[in-house]
Symmetry: C2
Subunit: 460 residues, 2 copies
């Protein structure tokens, strides 16, 4: 779409939004890319709506002039879902950042899509509630972005993913309709589950503007520990056994020996350089004590080293900071690198073998990849620190990633546990879902016949 | 559709299925209705496929001849979702009743759609696993039917609904395609969530033939109790407070004083005739003891009577049998009656008021309605025992049901917590979801352009 075509809609958008519509190069550049290796692209303009009505008007203008749109939250995604298509209008949601309501009795809240999870949790603390929103993808992502990518992270083993923690949405569809899905009821059998359809739709079916979220009571007690294992298989078997006992594990993270080495170097720590599990237990004082004791016994039975415990909040934060920083620690293995991250997820019984096969593949690579994973869910990431703009390195990482996806699909797994499809996993999606992708396309076409909603994402 | 039109497809279906295709009156009559007041209707014929390939062939024949189909599980639904449309072929799934695989390590199983939940749980016990499938709608429903209606029941407060317990599906779509959704991975961000779209679609988007389910470890300890309260509000406040403490409640059921009276008379019991909560706690010996103790204190602080405990399995079964039989107990208040059941669900903070307003409405009725509910979820049922074929009584119950739905929708609730839309809640769905129903229709049309998949259900 050339500038001539855009003149008229730009005028309409400016009339609607005033200074909250921008074609400034700096603003466009700030909305050109996500947190990954994916090549950025400048949107033609950026709109900063504040209300559902404004988003609706924007989409009506875009439909009239056939302008593609790309929604933008915090840009913390890693599969290129927010990278602009040629001629696109970026709809930035950071001005839609109000917590609209909180109910202590119902343990739920309604927020605008631009509210980040730290903001919401801070708000809940300020209100004096004992509630929090537990889904934790690491980054301080916007809740709208987390819905759009079906995010999860370290706490999903106990609290579930975005799939499990949303009661309803307000979505503006391609024709500008303002649609409310779900309700504040804890469960409903009222027709098709549009809420779950929009969760993970990556902006391709509509713009999510408001979210009603389930909240969770803050645990009375929390204990965290780190524990080294002789092999990845011993660590995974420990986790399988722990899950089978039904103890209250809130997080179980696996870092391989290379990743532990990176973490030690990055954070000046002295953990053993071995496959390592990071644990966190949530519950009452009694259940946390009980769970920790059982966990210790199971780990020891699988040849683990000693548990390094942290029950004090600061110690715990320091310990988990090492886990949170591990992506950057991995990148630090090569200064000034950009990250390429895989994201397969397999049944936990297959996880040790999947990692073993992956490590065999990686042994032939010069890209110094390391492995970390949400082992309770069977989800792990290989982090490749790549030289920016080095096409050979990128091609090698992509080739390895495809092979890792093949391994996971052989095991009834998925090509993406939590990062989404975006641009990077479109081929893998076809491989994984085959004919089901035709159904997805049919739904996309039914809801967005002009293909203006984040085109080029999810589907090839 | 008249017999002349059907001759040719009947020949094709008989060639495909042999004796597993029937136009016998007795067979048609056995598949004409569900467990509710809804008027039955004879399907033109009944097919009993055994494999995905056979279902696929059936749907291809039906598409070619434009024959509508209605899937049938166990007929234990209550909103008429299995009642045949004029000229329809009923696809009965009871011959697809194999448990295809179980994984102890992954705590999952794949079953054919006709497997019932008792069958699956019996199979898991026979295998010597410590696993069960925890969703409990009361009836021994087929798992396919439970998926199709997004069923839940008494244990949803802890284990969730069908929405939360399915990893993937095999679905045969209107054109006969065999489509696999989801995977065996515990989480996935791979494209649109088709699994959740088919859960609750009531046969209107395709025939669910196989289901991969999450399984749950059997609790180490279980304790059950019954406790009377001075008012419904005191009972609900007790539950809100209990949920807020995060204790391990697996079931919390509310029966009002009329329902308790019915239960006493039906089962020869001597419970106090007052609003009553039935509790069940699951966990380790320690956590169950801890939870029970806290629950007792909270209830007492809300003016409850004493807890009547049952920890022995037989005592517990007897106690809960009273709850399970309460629907029949309610019907027994009028001999030879048929049941009309409402199903609203509201945020729990609104539940006491919603029930109070409902009781005010019901006070004017001569239909002896009683109330029971899954109070932890904010879901309750009014059971009207109606004289069969009495149009005035049905009209009165329907009128009251619409008013109860209005009360619930005012409170951000839903018209159906777990029974589905079927025939009975189609108007209520329009009222609840407004423009969102247009999206549902667009999806329906995209996946079933000839409107052959259970037509006349969900949509007016």
């Amino acid at each position: 779409m050339n500038q001539h075509n855009l003149k008229h809609p730009h005028k309409e958008l400016r009339a609607l939004l005033g200074k909250r519509f921008s074609t400034d190069d700096t603003v466009r550049d700030a909305h050109a890319r996500d947190a990954s290796y994916h090549q950025g692209a400048l949107p033609d303009a950026v709109a900063f709506p504040k209300t559902n009505a404004e988003v609706s008007e924007i989409l009506k203008i875009c439909a009239k002039h056939k302008i593609p749109i790309v929604p933008y939250g915090t840009g913390t995604g890693v599969e290129g879902a927010v990278v602009a298509t040629e001629g696109a209008l970026c709809i930035a949601l950071n001005n839609m950042s109000s917590v609209l309501r909180v109910s202590q009795d119902d343990r739920d809240a309604t927020v605008q899509a631009g509210v980040t999870r730290f903001q919401l949790n801070g708000h809940l603390m300020d209100l004096g509630t004992q509630l929090h929103f537990p889904v934790d993808p690491g980054a301080d992502a916007s809740l709208g972005g987390m819905v759009a990518t079906r995010a999860s992270g370290t706490s999903a083993v106990r609290y579930g993913t975005m799939l499990d923690n949303v009661l309803g949405l307000t979505v503006i569809t391609a024709d500008g309709s303002i649609v409310h899905t779900g309700s504040r009821a804890r469960k409903s059998a009222a027709g098709y589950d549009l809420t779950r359809l929009f969760i993970g739709s990556e902006g391709t079916l509509g713009i999510i503007t408001e979210i009603t979220l389930k909240l969770t009571r803050l645990p009375e007690a929390v204990a965290a520990a780190v524990c080294a294992f002789p092999t990845v298989a011993a660590a995974v078997d420990t986790v399988i056994k722990m899950m089978d006992t039904g103890i209250n594990i809130a997080r179980i993270e696996l870092l391989d020996e290379l990743q532990m080495d990176a973490v030690n170097k990055h954070a000046g720590l002295d953990y053993e350089v071995a496959p390592t599990l990071f644990f966190e237990f949530h519950g009452s004082e009694r259940t946390v004590a009980e769970s920790s004791e059982i966990a210790g016994k199971i780990a020891a039975a699988h040849g683990s080293g000693d548990f390094r415990w942290a029950t004090d909040e600061n110690d715990r934060k320091r310990l988990w900071q090492a886990r949170y920083d591990s992506y950057y620690a991995a990148l630090n293995r090569r200064p000034r690198s950009v990250g390429y991250v895989t994201d397969v997820c397999v049944p936990i019984s297959q996880l040790a073998e999947c990692i073993a096969k992956t490590k065999t593949l990686l042994a032939k690579s010069n890209l110094v990849p390391s492995i970390l994973g949400h082992v309770g869910d069977g989800n792990f990431h290989v982090v490749f620190p790549l030289e920016p703009n080095n096409k050979d390195e990128l091609a090698e990482a992509q080739q390895l990633s495809h092979q890792i996806v093949d391994i996971a699909l052989e095991m009834d797994g998925t090509c993406t546990g939590e990062h989404g499809v975006g641009i990077g996993k479109r081929k893998a999606l076809e491989k994984e879902h085959g004919e089901a992708v035709d159904l997805m396309r049919a739904i996309k076409h039914a809801l967005d016949p002009l293909n203006l909603m984040n085109p080029g994402k999810i589907f090839l």
